[in-house]
Amino acid sequence: MAEENKENIESNNKGNGDIVTLKNLTKRFGDYVVLDEISLGIEKGKTTVVIGPSGCGKTVLIKHLLVLLRPSGGEVYFKGQRIDNLPEQELNKVRMQYGFLFQGGALFDSLSVVGNVTFPIVQHYEITDWKKVEELVASKLAMVGLDGFQNYYPANLSGGQRKRVALARAIALSPEVILYDEPTTGLDPIRSDIINELILKLQRELGVTTVVVTHDMTSAYKIADRIIMLHHGKIIADGDADHIRNHPHPIVQQFINGQVGEDDLAVLRASGTLTQSQFLPRDFKE
């Protein structure tokens, strides 16, 4: 517990170069506490990766960074301005400085690729010269390797292509912060690596601040400047890849090495043998 608190305090005191800051952020759904007084600073221009087992609150955390979810307690700051208490209309201006890649891409089914990528532009700017917009879309799609797919619909794209189009849409307004929610989930290792390379490329070429939520350790080690691990709503590890690799916390070691814990094994052993639970048609009437 002392170790968790120490990591939390370290996360809080990372310095003044933070573009997004969370102070004592708590999120409850009913009686269930998902995030428990998390304090964290996201350093400008760096790639921060949040890891943790499924259901530990990674997505909930990333959605708080642009206040897609309102916290139950604590504060969220963007460039020093408190944003968790802003009305939706003012928040929309702040959100324009973020790009968000959702886990499934969240492309609009009814719009083509070009419709999806131009969506944020059309929503916020009056378009007088469509040719310029087309050029912009082509350049954004070229960045993700999909120029020429303008007239395709999401239903005609593969999972990896959908994520890349979603990424092109996320960078359409040239945001300062790009948030990725499980960008490699559901992709084969090669497609996953393409996404990793894209994240690095965008970070390198656009100089954006990147926050990635993942449980893919290969991806985390490849792209991260800093890795944070969440467990039971708290930060239990915070540091660079080497720090995480050598972290003494057993839960961190168990997670990064992909090993099942003794507690889980005990549950599996206690639940009976396979022969006991086998379905035998002779025991049932047809």
Binding site: E88, A106, D109
Partner: protein
């Protein structure tokens, strides 16, 4: 027992409050979007999806309402020797009550279900969150065009239902039941006032608003998964149906009050 009742009451009050807030957001956003040119293409797309494709089904509904009324009312009126009054009875019922209500119920099923399923799927696949993440108000982008299209189109669709109801009633009365055609129209003209038609059309505005708002709200708040979307569609239809009946009653009460107060003064003017 008391605890359960209390917790259910709190949940219900919370739901009513959330729906009230949603309605308020829709009203504010709709009134602002009415004067914004960028909204018109979105409304136009919905007009096509909601209105144009609903015309055949609405016309069929109206025609059967008129025909059924003629069949049902004929025996009762003929028993009193008043069969030539059938036109007045059918047409008042069609334009004022049954036409608007049954057309709205049909729209609640056709449009309401589609709106809830579409927005519900967008909700569970994080598309609504995606709209918000790009700094766009999802109520303004997704709900307002649908509500405006329903507000505009439901009265027009009701007029179509009325027309076919009148024609259906005429067909059965004159062709099948052999009532004198000129007597049918004369009694219809004397029985149906402009006021009756207007009340029916005005009801369409309320019904359209209710169907669109309830269906969009259910889509926005639907639970995860296929079961969640299916349940939201069912709830949207049931809530819209009850709202249509309640609004029909409320508009009738108000219209009767207005009629009794002002319409009789018309002859003096």
């Amino acid at each position: 027992m008391l605890e359960e009742l209390g917790s259910k009451s709190i949940i219900s009050l919370g739901n009513i409050g959330r729906f009230g807030r949603f309605v308020w957001q829709v009203m504010v956003a709709s009134s602002r979007s009415c004067f914004r040119v960028s909204t018109y293409p979105l409304v136009w797309a919905q007009i096509h999806a909601i209105g144009v494709r609903s015309v055949p089904v609405i016309m069929i509904t109206g025609a059967f309402v008129g025909m059924t009324l003629a069949i049902q009312a004929y025996d009762q009126l003929a028993g009193m020797g008043l069969e030539e009054h059938l036109g007045a009875l059918i047409n008042v019922s069609v334009v004022k009550e049954l036409g608007p209500v049954l057309a709205a119920v049909m729209l609640a099923g056709r449009i309401g279900g589609a709106l809830t399923a579409e927005l519900g799927t967008m909700n569970v696949t994080e598309q609504i969150d995606a709209v918000r993440s790009m700094g766009t108000d999802p109520v303004k982008y997704l709900v307002v065009p649908r509500v405006l299209a329903c507000l505009l189109l439901t009265p027009i669709l009701i007029i179509y239902a009325d027309l076919l109801g009148i024609l259906g009633g005429y067909f059965v009365s004159v062709v099948q039941l052999e009532i004198n055609s000129s007597a049918y129209w004369n009694f219809s003209a004397s029985g149906v006032e402009l006021w009756d038609v207007s009340v029916g059309v005005v009801k369409g505005i309320f019904f359209g608003g209710a169907i669109a708002t309830i269906s969009c709200y259910k889509g926005f708040t639907c639970r995860e998964g296929a079961h969640g979307v299916g349940q939201a569609c069912t709830e949207a239809f049931v809530s819209s149906f009850i709202s249509i009946l309640a609004l029909n009653f409320a508009v009738d009460v108000v219209a009767k009050g207005i009629y009794n107060t002002f319409w009789t003064v018309k002859s003096l003017v």
